[in-house]
Amino acid sequence: MALVWQIQCTASPPLPSLPFFKRKSSSSPSLPLPLTRSFRLRFTHVPSPRPVAASISSVESPTSVDGLGNNKTPLLEVKGLTAVIAETKQEILKGVDLVVNHGEIHAIMGKNGSGKSTFSKVLVGHPDYEVTGGSVVFKGENLLDMEPEERSLAGLFMSFQSPVEIPGVNNIDFLHMAYNARRKKLGQPELGPLEFYAYIYPKLDLVNMKTDFLNRNVNEGFSGGERKRNEILQLAVLGADFAILDEIDSGLDVDALRDVAKAVNGLLTLKNSVLMITHYRRLLEFIKPTFIHIMEDGRIIKTGDSSLAQILEEKGYNAIPSA
C-alpha cells in the first residue's frame, strides 16, 4: 500500500504535519527511516500531537513530514502580532514576527518591559490581553481562534513566571485532571488514580522532587524553586510540542537551575521546540539555544545565534542596534 506523499519543500502554506504514529498505525511498510528514530522511547508524552489531527477538518492525507530528514514546516509562525492590555488598551506588542521550526530552541531576551512575558501570555491566551492584529499559526492551525484549554490540548505549554497558588487542590489531583483531559481529547480511556500514580512516579526523578510533593496543594507554600520545578513536572507529565518557559531561571539556585535544565533537555526531541524567556546567560549555557532574539518595545529587533548572548553580557542592550 503505497501512500501518496506530497513533499513540500517550501514553507508556505503550512500544511498540517501529521504525527508519525498515525501513519505508522495505518500500515506503512515503506518507512524505514522514521522507524529508526526511536521516538516512542524518548517521547514521554506520546498522545499529545494527535489533537491536531483530530481537529483538522481539511487536509487529511499525510503531507510533508520529516521522513526525509528535513521538516521545513514551522511549528509556530507568528506574523505581525499586535496586542494591547484589555483594560487600558495600552499597546504592548507592536508587530512581532517569529518562526519556530520543529526541534529548535529559541530564546528571547530583552529589557524589562519590552513585552517578552506579554508575548508568551498572548500565545497562551491570557484574558488580560487582547490581540489587535497579526496572525499566529501553530501546527497549521490558527491559534488565536482557540480557547486556552484548546491551545493546551493542541500541544502548547507555558511555564508561568509566577505560578499561582491553588489552595485546596492537590498536585496529583490537578495533574490527573489535566492528563485525563488530554487523553479524553485523544479518545483514549482515562487513567484511574492508581495507574496515573504509576505513570507519574518516574517523572518525579526527572525534576528531582520527592513523592510528598504530590500531596501538597498546587504551589501552596512552595518556594520559588519548587514552583518552577512543579511547572517542569507538569511539562513532563502532560507533554507538549511547543513549550514556552517564561523566566524559568528566576529565583533558582545553581543546583535547582541545573536540575531544571537537565529535565528540559531530557524532554527535548527533534519534534518539539522550546521558547525560553530569560535575562541571563546562565540558563542558555545549560540549554543551548539555536536562535536568540532580542525584544525591545514590543518588537523583535534582532535575531542571532548563541553568540549574541555573549555580546549582551559584555556590553548590555544598548550594544544591540535596533533595526
Partner: protein
Amino acid sequence: MAALASTHPNLLQFTPKLTPSTRKLTPSTRKLKHKRIAMKLSVQAISASPQTSFTDQYVLQLADSLEDSLPTSSFALQNLRNNSSETILSTQWPSRKDESFRFTDTSFIKNSDIKPISHPPKSLTFSDISRDTQLKSFYFADGFLLDFSFDSSNLPDGVYLGSLSKLPSDGILERVSGLLGDLEWSDLFWSINGLGAPDLMVVYVPEGCKVEHPIYLKYIAVEGGDEGSKTMPLSNPRVFVLVEKGGEVGIVEEFAGNEESEYYWNNSVLEVVVGEGGKVRHSYVQNQSLNAAHIKWTSVRQESTSTYELVEVSTGGKLSRHNVHIQQLGSDTVTELTTFHLCVGDQTQDLHSRIVLDHPRGYCQQLHKCIVAHSSGQAVFDGNVKVNRYAQQTDAGQLTRSLLLEPRATVNVKPNLQIIADDVKCSHGAAISDLEESQLFYFQARGIDLETARKALVFSFGAEVIDKLPHTSLQKQVKNNVKELLGSTTKDS
C-alpha cells in the same frame, strides 16, 4: 397600679398561666401581690423589671407549652428551668429590627405550630445508628439522650459520659450545677432550651486525663411535620462538657436529617468549660433536612493556657444559626474557629460568634468560609471579637471568605473587632467574590476546561475547612456529602 394594669394588659393576662397553681389572678387582684409560689416561678421577677411591659405573647405561650411538656426533674435542671423562664418573660421573639437578627428571618418558625416533643421516640430504626467502635457514640433522638449501655471500659478512670441524673459523684454534680446556664449575653433560644431541655448530658474529664478517642454525639430527628400541616416539633438537646485542669478531649457533634421527617426545629445547646491547660477539639457537622430549623448555641469558658478548637461544616437546614460565645477567663489561651457554610437551596446559614478576651496573651484565629450556590440562598456572618482593656498582647485574626455562585445569591458579613487594649496584634479581612480568575486560567492553561475547573475550585474552597476536621473518617464522609450537594447544583444550572 391600676394605670399599670390598664396599659399593660398582656402582663396580667398571662401571669396566671405561669403559676402552676389553679389560683387565678383575677383582674380585681391587679395589685400584684408578690406571691412567691414555691412551685416553679417567682412572680416577683415580673413586677420588678420594667421591660416586662414588652412581654411577648407568643413567647409566653411557647414557654407555657414547654413547661407542660416536661416532667419535674432533678434539682440542678430545675434551677436552670426557673432561671430560663424568668429570662424568657422579658425576652421578645427576635425581629428584623434586632441587630443580631437583622439578616436572619425566623418568621417561618414563628408561623408554624410549635410542639415541644415530650417523649423520646417509641421506635427507632437502627439503620441510621451505625456502630463505629472507634468512636464512643451517644445518640440524641428528638432531644432525648438514648439509653444504650455504653462500653465505658475503654475510657480512662474518672471520665463520665452520660445523663446528669446518673452522675455518680455529688462533687461533679455541684460543679456542673454551679456553672450551668451561666451566660451573660444569651438570647431567646438559649432560654428556650434552658426551659425545655428534658435532660442534660454531661461529659466530665478529670484532671490530667487525656481521652484518646473522640466522643461522638449524634443527633437524629425522628418526629417531624410534613408538608401540609404546619406543625413543627421542637427538640432541645443539651450537653455540658467539663474538662478539668490538663484534661483533653475531642467532641464530635453530628446533626443528621431524616428523609421522612422534614419539618422540625432542633434547638440545641452545648456548654464547655475548659480548665487550666485543658484542650477541647470540637467538630460540628450539621446536615439537617432542608425544611428544618436548626438553632445551636455553643458557649465556651476557657481558663488560662487552655485550648479550644472548633471546626464546623454546616450544609443543611432551611434556617441554620450557630451562636458561639467564648469567654476567656485566664491568660495565654488558644482559640481557633474554622467554619464552613454551604447553601445549595433556599437556605439561610448564619454564624454569630463572639469571643471575649479579658486577659493577656490570648491567641485566637477565626476562619469562616461560605458558599452560596442558589439564588435564594443566604449566608450571614457576624464575627465579634472583644479585646478588652486587660487583654494586652493579644494576637487575634479573623478572615471570612465567601463565594457567590449564582445571581441574586446573598451574603451579609459583619466582621468586627472591638479593641480597647493598646498593645495587641489584630487583623481581620473579608472577601466576597466569585472564583479567582488567575486560578481558573491556570487550569485552562493546562488543558482543563472551565466547567471542570470551576467545580474543582468550588470544592477546594470548602475543602480547606473540611481538611481541618480531626478525624479522617468524618472528613471523608463530609467531603462526599459536600461533593454530592455541589454536584446537584451544577446539574440544575
